[in-house]
Symmetry: C2
Subunit: 216 residues, 2 copies
């Protein structure tokens, strides 16, 4: 009966080999130029075979994305501390994300790509997207720390935890999208990336209202 299992293992193995080959292309040519023909050649398989393991090019890209996401998740988890309050842990999460963006530039670009497009229009198994969103996504980690922060008083308690988390996460994505894609353009304004990051955290923490602002 071990024969079916061996086959299953081999199938997974081959799938991984393909992703490995795809990554080698991806890390050199960038994900925009990842063609199925090239992947097939690199994997020493025919193009048709790729489609036995992946529904589409998007599906293959998503597999690479998941590898990057796993790394990010690990980095984030490693920086959380039971001693810190929710707010500090959130700062730690932000820090991990930023470090990830610098240390794994390629994975990070792919990550941002998938985080800013309409995933549900992709020709990939929609179920794995749901799994990612609910369990494997960094947003879940953010959510947990926000809940913790509300409980320990380090964060505002007057906002709905889930909405609160999604908002913080989206703001962070926006900052990083702009920094990643517009950095060189913004240089005409002499805007330094780290300043924007710093200012972002400052605003999110303390707001942007001035002392003289009348609240009514």
């Amino acid at each position: 009966m071990g024969i079916a299992e061996r086959k299953e293992r081999e199938k997974q193995q081959r799938r991984n080999d393909i992703i490995d080959a795809a990554e080698r292309i991806f890390f050199t040519r960038g994900f925009e130029n990842l063609t199925m023909d090239e992947v097939a050649e690199e994997a020493e398989l025919s193009k048709g075979t790729l489609y036995l393991y992946f529904k589409s090019r998007d599906d293959l890209q998503f597999a690479i994305f998941m590898r990057g996401s796993d790394i990010l998740m690990r980095m984030m988890n490693d920086n959380l501390s039971d001693e810190s309050d929710g707010y500090r842990n959130l700062l730690a999460l932000a820090g991990s994300f930023i470090r990830f963006s610098k240390e794994y530039r390629d994975y990070f670009n792919l990550f941002m790509h998938f985080e800013t497009i309409r995933m549900n229009e992709l020709n990939i198994d929609q179920e794995q997207i749901q799994v990612y969103l609910k369990e494997q996504s960094p947003l879940a980690l953010v959510s947990r720390q926000v809940a913790r922060g509300i409980e320990d008083g380090s964060m505002r308690a007057d906002l709905l935890p889930e909405v609160f988390s999604a908002t913080l996460w989206s703001q962070m994505l926006g900052i990083l999208v702009v920094l990643t894609n517009k950095a060189d353009l913004y240089e005409i304004f002499d805007l330094k990336a780290d300043d924007i990051l710093q200012t972002h955290l400052e605003i999110v923490s303390h707001g942007s209202l001035g002392s003289k602002h009348e609240t009514r």
Copy 2:
């Protein structure tokens, strides 16, 4: 010598006709499916002719983007008031942006597309991008109101105005990118778009720290 000028006018006219045709396709098929062949047919010109007026498909898309951006700029400008302080005007700008996203869904999607990709890798005249960024971009309006807000005391004076503006703008983009592309996915969490917008403005105004947070 008005002959050269007439030619120039005619050239502009034809260029506009092409953009008009492209928009008709764009508004029905969406910008992902905007093909040069279709545009050519709709404009009653040959495909080759399109390339006399636009360097590439991206270039043509950028032209449509600019039309949308002009509308957004007008809407934003119309909602500014000399009587309001900088902070209130900023809220007005945010409101205009949100209204734009609802009333001009197609333009808005295209706008977000260009605001979240690496423009400088596109095969379009880089000079018009610079012009857009420096003068025609909504960011310039934000910048002006932030400066005003710092002056009139309605906004924090301890942040660099330019960095401050870019940060607020990027956060807003992030929020809208997520809402636009992930709305349906987030529904599994019962997150309502307006709640996120509301929470975003709230955080940006007053921060997210709780009362019990020790600042040191």
